[in-house]
């Protein structure tokens, strides 16, 4: 945690110290640290000349800015009605089964966090999920086994939606 001060300062240098720079800074902290710690928020408050309460109050509004530690790979399974109709439950069951955790939990090795989330914009290709920022669609329990194995091994899976 000693590193947090120079890190936050570098982010403030990069994005700026105006109030409107707060979210980009918090977003980058979560992307790299997988958590928005109290120390980080206090540091951000100091850099941007805001109260810590102000920073916390803002962060707590956004579901992607977690103040509890998440794993390195955050799995967010879409729970929209269409996802449910297309077999979301089997996907979540399979994930729980492989990762040996329940929805909302993180694996003991800190690698995976399993969450459910509202519509992620792939209703035409349900069931779907995000792993960090990458979308995975048309999921099946078999595909889940493969994707998770690839993440375990390489920290990624090329099974995601291909862009272009």
């Amino acid at each position: 945690m000693n590193q947090i001060q120079p890190y936050v300062r570098s982010l403030a240098d990069k994005y700026g110290r105006e109030r409107e720079c707060l979210l980009p800074i918090l977003q980058e902290i979560v992307a790299t640290e997988h958590v928005l710690s109290q120390d980080a928020m206090v540091e951000v408050a100091r850099e941007l000349n805001l109260s810590a309460a102000e920073v916390y109050g803002t962060a707590s509004f956004y579901s992607f800015l977690n103040t509890e530690p998440y794993g390195k790979y955050v799995i967010r399974v879409c729970k929209s009605i269409v996802a449910e109709m297309k077999g979301k439950k089997e996907i979540v069951d399979k994930l729980c089964d492989i990762l040996k955790i329940k929805v909302g939990e993180t694996t003991p090795n800190g690698k995976f966090t399993l969450l459910e989330t509202n519509d992620i914009g792939w209703s035409d290709q349900e069931p779907s999920m995000l792993i960090n920022e990458k979308p995975y669609t048309y999921l099946t329990p078999e595909k889940i086994v493969q994707i998770i194995a690839e993440y375990q091994a390489n920290g990624k899976s090329n099974n995601h939606q291909q862009i272009n």
Partner: protein, 389 residues
């Protein structure tokens, strides 16, 4: 009831034309600003984000505001359940959207614009940034002064509401403001701001390309142009389809249903549920049932209780909690239908819940709380038995 326009497929939004040289912009910035605004007004274009405000008027108001600090914001928050058409534009033809934003900036006199992209679409950022870099280069060559920045959401549906979006862009909690003042008068940093949907900007660009005459050949009197539909659920043709507005829902179901369609949810969780018996008398368009484009089909194997329950859970989670009718109302509606289902409450309790949803429509501060009654009453009233047994 207006006559049906039939179901007509169109292919202009993703159609061949997409210029990395921004030729439409180049042409447009040599035209009189008033003339472009008049074109957008004459085209009858209405916002594609759901509310359907006339785009030309919005631009005209913003252009008429004094001062030279103004902003253009592209609303790419696309959080409505069952919507994914902006995703396709952003991935396939971002130039058309960026060009539309730039034309808007030109006519209202803005030099700064933003794309507010939902956090769930983070994966698009590298490609979008590349296109923005190209745009900035082209703009420099045209001597056109405009910077477009990407801003990310962080998983909050309500941030798609334009004033919440602005709060979020200012680095605050995404809590909707009271309107008026509207963003065209006091928006980002209190300055005049145009907020339009992704598809609206593409349409504005299209009008500048093909002209008003051609544009108004599409659609009906009250619903000009084509519309992207996000089609999902019990359909063999899930995906984004471009159709002319003004069609009968029965024509739509004939094309996209699975021969067993029981209901169509038009406009997402915030929209309306149309039961089979009304397919024939429902027109999709501003003269009938307007929609941001989300069309979820349900066949007879689906429980409408289950559908409503899912929507209410969604609203209950996404309500920002700022005003009581919405915060408490969403909870009570959800608990209420659960209690009736478990027979802890009599069926007549549904009437009280319907009244509550009507109160939310009047007393809530923003469109989120105001629109819960749409799906609530349209599902409850059409499927009473499914709610009780």
């Amino acid at each position: 009831m207006a006559p049906s326009n039939g179901l007509k497929r169109v292919d202009v939004i993703f159609g061949a034309y997409a210029s990395t040289k921004y030729l439409i912009l180049q042409k447009s910035i040599r035209r009189e600003k008033q003339e472009i605004i008049q074109d957008i007004i004459d085209s009858g274009l209405r916002g594609r984000g759901g509310a359907g405000f006339p785009t030309g008027l919005k631009w005209k108001f913003a252009a008429a505001q004094p001062g030279n600090e103004k902003y253009v914001i592209c609303n790419a928050d696309e959080g409505e359940p069952g919507t994914f058409k902006d995703r396709e534009i952003l991935m396939k033809v971002p130039q058309k959207m960026i060009s539309g934003m730039a034309i808007c900036a030109y006519v209202i006199g803005a030099t700064k614009a933003f794309i507010y992209l939902r956090g769930e679409y983070q994966f698009m950022v590298p490609d979008l940034q590349k296109e923005l870099d190209n745009f900035h280069e082209q703009a420099r060559e045209m001597n056109f002064d405009l910077t477009i920045e990407l801003r990310m959401g962080s998983g909050a549906y309500v941030c798609g509401e334009e004033t919440a979006l602005i709060e979020s862009m200012e680095g605050k909690r995404g809590e909707p403001r009271n309107k008026p003042p509207f963003p065209v008068v006091e928006g980002f940093h209190g300055k005049p701001t145009v907020v339009n949907n992704v598809e609206t900007f593409v349409n504005a660009n299209m009008i500048c390309r093909i002209g008003v005459e051609e544009f108004i050949k599409l659609g009906t009197q009250d619903s000009r142009g084509s519309k992207l539909f996000s089609i999902s659920g019990d359909t063999p043709k899930a995906g984004v389809h471009e159709l002319e507005l003004g069609m009968k829902l029965s024509d739509f179901v004939a094309e996209f249903g699975d021969d067993d369609t029981k209901a169509v949810q038009v406009g997402g969780a915030a929209g309306f549920c149309v039961p089979r018996k009304k397919f024939d008398t429902t027109i999709i368009g501003f003269e009938g049932m307007p929609t941001g484009g989300s069309m979820m089909l349900f066949n007879s194997s689906r429980s409408m209780y289950h559908v409503l329950h899912n929507y209410l859970e969604f609203f209950e989670e996404e309500s920002c909690g700022q005003c009581t009718p919405c915060r408490v109302g969403c909870q009570q509606l959800l608990l209420g239908i659960e209690a009736i289902k478990k027979q802890e409450r009599p069926a007549s309790y549904l009437n009280q819940l319907l009244k509550l949803s009507e109160t939310m429509k009047i007393a809530s501060k923003c469109g989120l709380g105001q629109s819960v009654a749409n799906s609530f009453s349209s599902i409850v009233e059409n499927y009473v038995e499914e709610m009780i047994y």
